[in-house]
């Protein structure tokens, strides 16, 4: 099943074009990795999927994007973001306790029942492999956690609102290898239930977790294929240069 169908997508920020004629379809329950150098438009692409680009007043978009059967720009933006969650490059806990961080989205969407909230929080923290580390101190500030724990907290917060798609924007860029392994482990488990789009600067990470990998360069989609194919027999020379490190 296709989760996102994207045809001839162009995005501009003011006069600068960030994405040029991108065509991708994102399948359900896959991990799509997006690799590419800085400024290649991969984060812009990701933020388009839950319309966070709308927050920049100078952002313009053309082309067709379908989320399931619906036209992306016609969906109510709050409903869309509830269904398409996002984990940012830096851990961004809210200035609340661990429990309140995870419960925040659920509460804001109208859930008041303490029992239901507790269940949701526990389940989400278990899915992001954080429960064992924090179950005895749920009421301390989220800022007391280490960077890796904070990032898994942010994943739990996204999971708690029960999205269909999770967008990861370089989720391990600030993390040590052990925390990175934990986040990757979580991602691999999560793809059974969710569709995952992962933007990463770490080529090896794309190779480890991605079902398919897309290579972006200067706002264009250069190549998209099964991950092992991209890494063993890329069609385009630029892809080959980038993954072997010969680039720039």
């Amino acid at each position: 099943m296709v989760t996102f169908g994207i045809k001839n997508l162009d995005i501009w920020f003011g006069a600068a074009q960030a994405l040029k004629q991108v065509n991708i379809s994102i399948e359900s329950n896959e991990i799509l990795s997006i690799i590419g150098p800085s400024n290649s438009g991969k984060t812009t692409f990701l933020r388009m999927l839950n319309r966070l680009n709308d927050l920049s007043s100078n952002c313009k978009m053309a082309g067709e994007v379908r989320f399931g059967q619906e036209d992306l720009i016609k969906i109510d933006v709050e409903l869309l973001r509830k269904r398409v969650g996002m984990v940012f490059a830096l851990p961004l806990p809210l200035p609340l306790s661990i429990f309140d961080n995870v419960a925040f989205g659920v509460r804001m969407h109208g859930e008041r029942d303490r029992k239901i909230l507790e269940n949701r929080v526990e389940e989400a923290l278990k899915q992001s492999y954080l429960w064992e580390e924090v179950k005895d101190r749920l009421d301390v500030s989220a800022f007391k956690l280490s960077g890796g724990q904070q990032q898994r907290l942010c994943i739990a917060r996204t999971l708690a609102v029960e999205p269909e798609v999770i967008l990861f924007d370089e989720p391990c860029s600030g993390l040590d290898p052990i925390s990175t392994a934990k986040v990757e482990e979580a991602m691999l488990k999560l793809k059974k239930k969710y569709t995952i789009v992962l933007v990463t600067n770490n080529v090896k990470q794309a190779a480890r977790v991605g079902d398919r990998t897309a290579f972006f360069l200067s706002g264009e989609l250069i190549e998209l294929d099964k991950t092992d194919k991209i890494f063993t027999a890329p069609q385009d020379k630029r892809t080959d240069d980038y993954i072997t490190g010969a680039f720039g």
Binding site: N50, L52, L55, S57, E78, L79, L80, R81, K82, R83, G85, M86, F88, L90, L92, P93, L94, P95, L96, S97, F104, G105, M108, H109, S141, A142, F143, C154, R157, T158, V161
Partner: protein, 282 residues
């Protein structure tokens, strides 16, 4: 040869001098007021009406008047100021008009208070026919402190990291919920700082109340917001310049009470601010 150690010593010396130049005069003023005013303070002084042409008796009506006026100004200016700040920092598009409005508000904070007094006279006393009354005076003081409250509240709101907003919005939480539950609670300490500044200014100004509320002499307390009232700064002005042969003790006693009221009001705001800072999780 430049000696970085000596340069640091010299810089430190000048920084210290600048600080002392501020602290010492303020300290001296406070000390003189306490030294000369404290002997005047008695239960009678605080609770009696002025007698014998304000040369004896107490200053109770002026104390009550000042408390009414400052409370009225805050009740009026705080909600409007905070709401305007939320609109300007969170909702208004960043264009020339918005920037002009922000600039105008910052500049309004520097307008001389007598101008606000005349404005209050024209608008509230004459046009709205409130007459010289607590209502007119409170509204005039409120308008005077609005720019301070808007500017400091705006700064407080804008100092809440943008990433908090983005994280909240990315969960599908609405913009208003984000402001209400994430931005505003973290901006409250800064907003209270603005309120403290506004409070002090409203309590101490004479010019804005001169034409709008202040009575030269009233032997009884105001009974409604449409009554005139005495106020401490104006009373101080009157007994210092308009009435001959007032004890120095009485004058400094009045100044001391004014200072104490502002301090107590600030203390309340500071305690509330401290409670919020303690809850802050970052």
């Amino acid at each position: 040869m430049r000696n970085p150690y000596r340069t640091q010593k010299i810089a430190f010396f000048f920084l210290l001098i600048a600080t002392l130049l501020i602290v010492i005069p303020v300290g001296i003023i406070v000390l003189i007021i306490i030294e000369k005013g404290l002997p005047a303070i008695s239960w009678e002084f605080l609770s009696d009406i002025p007698r014998k042409g304000m040369r004896a008796g107490g200053i109770f009506p002026a104390i009550v008047g000042t408390i009414y006026l400052v409370s009225g100004a805050i009740v009026f200016a705080l909600p409007i100021g905070v709401l305007a700040a939320i609109y300007l920092s969170e909702y208004a598009k960043d264009n020339l008009l918005t920037r002009l409005i922000k600039l105008a508000i910052v500049n309004l904070a520097g307008v001389p208070s007598v101008v606000y007094g005349l404005f209050g006279l024209a608008l509230f006393v004459v046009f709205f026919k409130f007459g010289a009354s607590i209502l007119s005076g409170s509204l005039t003081l409120g308008i005077m402190i609005l720019p301070i409250i808007i500017t400091t509240s705006r700064e407080a709101l804008e100092s809440v990291p943008y990433s908090f907003r983005e994280a909240s919005l990315s969960l599908g939480v609405s913009k208003w919920q984000t402001i209400r539950h994430i931005v505003l609670p973290n901006a409250i300490p800064g907003i209270l700082t603005g309120t403290i500044l506004g409070l002090g200014r409203a309590a101490g100004e004479t010019a804005p109340i001169l034409f709008t509320v202040a009575a030269f002499y009233l032997p009884q307390l105001p009974s409604s917001i449409f009554d005139q009232a005495m106020a401490l700064p104006y009373h101080l002005y009157v007994i210092s310049t308009q009435v001959p042969n007032v004890d120095e003790k009485t004058r400094y006693g009045t100044a001391f009470v004014l200072l104490a009221i502002v301090l107590v009001m600030n203390l309340i705001a500071i305690i509330i601010r401290y409670q919020f800072r303690k809850k802050k999780k970052w």
